[in-house]
Amino acid sequence: MTGRAGANAWLLPVLATVLVLAATVPAGAEAACYAGGDGTGTLEFAGAVEGRGFTGRFGEFDVRYCMPEGEPESGRIEVTVALASADSDNRDRDTTLKGEEFFDVVSFPESTWRSTEIVRDGEGYRAEGELTLKGITAAQPIRFTLEPDGERIVARGAFTLAGDAEVDRQRFDVGTGEFADPEFVRNRVDVRFKVELAAP
């Protein structure tokens, strides 16, 4: 019997360690990162020149939304956009957009947006964040909805992030020289996105 008691005494601390480890990392609060991008959605921009609207889209972008399971408000969103992928179905405009006076893609190939705070806003959310564009970082809020939302995200392992933002291009030096005049190129650029994000 002494041999069996000795075996039990050896097992006890191992069992205790396993239990403590399990308690410190509860499965429900584990952060999951959902990812998507140009292959799973669209990122569009709409501006106006001489009062005439135009729309374009970014062909290359990545979105990551990391959140404790089922808690979007406690999560963080990160978006990276390849500016040279801008396409507005107009060669002249796209060349100008990528040039020094607008995105200057040679010096600043990427733009990023990172959330700093996500709060409930009616049916959806509002996120405060920082947009870095052309080497300038400034506050840039966005609005979005999640479908499915909350705990149902966990069940499906994927969700659709859709929303919009109003960007003031002048804060980021986008459109300089003769393009700076808002009577020529409107300051407000509407950004719309809809992208499916899935757990890896």
Binding site: E50, N90, R91, D92
Partner: protein
């Protein structure tokens, strides 16, 4: 002076003349604008000039439609009797070639701007549909055709003007005058 709206046996009527000279003015403006577009260093100015060029072009197209419609109900006065047959044929060919070009210039321009991804417009009041979807290959083709037709138009207009001046100063007939608002004098010839 009695102003005939319809063509008479000797001269074009007021409406046919008005449409002819309005198209002349439109085409002249189009060449001046094309030249200004080539010359400007400002994208903003170029943008404005191109929009005006499109608006004038669409105006010329509308006038051309009116001209042909009016012409169908109001036949042109006959050419002077006694002209050689080749001159009749040359006049007919030149006139029809001009009509074809007056339609082809705005239509290829319209297709050019559509293929380039700009919507055609008319003085900011009227948005016109795209003739073709944006496509860089088509943009190049329609751009080249539009320019080639412009060069052709200059040549044919030069021929048309030379012929009119020849009629007036060499043959001394009323062919040029019948397109001028001088009905009282020309109808007496």
């Amino acid at each position: 002076m009695k102003v005939p709206i319809r063509n008479t046996a000797e001269a074009y009527g007021a409406l046919a003349q008005l449409l002819h000279w309005a198209v002349v003015a439109g085409i002249a403006l189009q060449f001046v604008w094309a030249w200004r577009i080539d010359r400007t260093d400002s994208i903003r100015e170029e943008f404005a000039l191109v929009n005006q060029h499109k608006s004038i072009g669409i105006t010329v197209l509308m006038l051309a439609v009116l001209r042909l419609a009016w012409r169908a109900f109001n036949r042109p006065p006959p050419l002077p009797a006694g002209l050689p047959r080749w001159e009749h044929l040359a006049a007919r060919a030149t006139h029809w070639l001009l009509y074809v070009l007056i339609f082809a210039m705005p239509l290829t321009g319209w297709a050019f701007t559509s293929a380039a991804g700009y919507g055609p417009e008319w003085f900011g009041w009227l948005d016109l549909p795209d003739l073709v979807a944006p496509n860089e290959r088509l943009e190049e083709i329609f751009g080249a055709v539009h320019e080639a037709l412009a060069a052709t138009l200059v040549t044919v207009v030069a021929l048309h003007v030379t012929a009119a001046l020849r009629h007036h100063f060499v043959l001394r007939d009323n062919v040029l005058k019948r397109m001028l608002p001088t009905w009282t004098t020309s109808t007496r010839q």
